[in-house]
């Protein structure tokens, strides 16, 4: 009680009172922000085709699976020979009005850096070509001393704009060294981030 009295007797000028009011408003604002956020987390969920989706392409390797939002390519790699799938998989913008931005990001790769098995590949490249067959950008994996070197550094490309209704192709190029061991498998997971 005594403490409360002391607090009650503190004299505040108007500026201090406004400062307290301002701090209180920030607190209230934060609380409100949390409430608004939780409201936006209750969306109506509708099953629909992604704005940019995977599509089957002419050179889809045998045994691959291509769905709208997920694809698994089963490619080969030959010793001392470059294997090219010019149109391994297509990316199609299903929006007939607007262009959309997308990029490629590597999220995992096995065998991991440092493993002797990495030496069974020289390079694995994903090259993106537009509808007219012009090169746009690439995400490359090149081996040096049993380590994967990613280009661009960090394994993430810039965003590129795919026009409305356009279909672009991903070219896959693989190359193994002459002494590569048959049967070795490399798995790469790449996300196609769309805005």
């Amino acid at each position: 009680m005594k403490n409360l009295k002391i607090i009650g007797n503190i004299k505040l000028n108007k500026s201090s009172k406004f400062l307290i009011l301002l701090l209180a408003s920030i607190l209230v604002g934060t609380a409100n922000a949390a409430i608004f956020y939780s409201l936006t987390m209750q969306p109506q969920v509708t099953v629909s085709i992604p704005v940019i989706k995977f599509d089957h392409a002419d050179d889809e390797p045998a045994g691959s699976t291509v769905d709208d939002a997920w694809c698994s390519l089963t490619a080969k790699s030959y010793p001392n020979a470059t294997l090219t799938y010019e149109q391994a998989v297509n990316l199609t913008n299903t929006d007939s009005v607007n262009a959309h931005l997308f990029r490629l990001t590597c999220i995992s790769i096995t065998p991991a850096n440092g493993s002797a098995d990495v030496g069974n590949w020289t390079s694995i490249k994903f090259l993106v070509y537009n509808s007219t067959g012009d090169y746009v950008f690439s995400l490359n994996f090149t081996v040096s001393d049993n380590n994967w070197g990613l280009a661009p550094t960090g394994g993430q490309t810039a965003y590129y704009s795919i026009p409305a209704s356009a279909s672009w192709s991903i070219r896959l190029e693989t190359l193994s060294p002459a002494a590569a061991t048959e049967g070795k498998v490399c798995r790469i997971q790449i996300t196609v981030d769309v805005q």
Partner: protein, 203 residues
């Protein structure tokens, strides 16, 4: 000492303006929180999971019966040496053999992609033929210049089949020329192809 009335009035105005400014700042802070909730990007990620397996080559190279050829590890690249005479053209039949080990039909062709000192070659023809003597000219050099760098597609039937790479040569002098060539192996009706590297050394 007592303030005069206008001064008091001005002081009250000044206080009110100060209060008003604080109020505006407070409102801006609140509005800032409000807008931060309505701003955002639509963003989603598709996923692709390629799996690459090291496989044995479906088509392999073997040494020929003419010239001097070296086949490198896994039979997917080779170096061939042959002498280019200065008097009359020499025909080397054949310097390399292309063997299909798969049950698939392929199409093959040669594409010259780099060279050195070819100016001395009066005549250089690199061509395919098969056991029935079918001929397909792939790379032509006449008087030191390419007249054809990329050959037409040539059928390599399903295993067991083989195609021969032969060379006709004539040079101006006894220097050395190098021609680096891709042997391209294409799946019919697709744009999936393999590239082997062949090096021709003509002395």
């Amino acid at each position: 000492m007592k303030e005069d009335a206008p001064m008091q009035k001005y002081r009250i105005y000044a206080q009110k303006i100060s209060q008003l400014m604080w109020l505006v700042v407070t409102l801006f802070v609140l509005l800032g929180f409000l807008f931060s909730n309505v701003y955002g990007n639509t963003y989603f990620a598709l996923l692709t999971g390629p799996r690459t397996t090291v496989s044995s080559p479906p088509v392999v190279l073997q040494v020929g019966i003419a010239g001097n050829s070296t086949i490198f590890m896994n039979n997917t690249s080779a170096k061939t040496s042959a002498v280019a005479p200065t008097s009359t053209p020499a025909n080397y039949d054949y310097v390399l053999k292309v063997v299909n080990e798969a049950s698939d039909l392929w199409k093959i062709r040669l594409k010259a992609y780099s060279q050195s000192n070819i100016e001395r070659l009066n005549n250089c023809t690199i061509y395919f033929h098969n056991a029935s003597d079918d001929f397909s000219g792939q790379v032509y050099i006449v008087n030191g210049n390419y007249t054809q760098q990329t050959g037409p597609w040539y059928d390599l039937p399903a295993s067991p089949t083989e195609t021969y790479i032969a060379v006709t040569l004539e040079a101006d002098n006894s220097e050395v020329s190098y021609i680096n060539v891709y042997l391209e192996i294409l799946i019919p009706n697709k744009t999936t192809y393999i590239r082997y590297i062949l090096t021709f050394e003509f002395t």
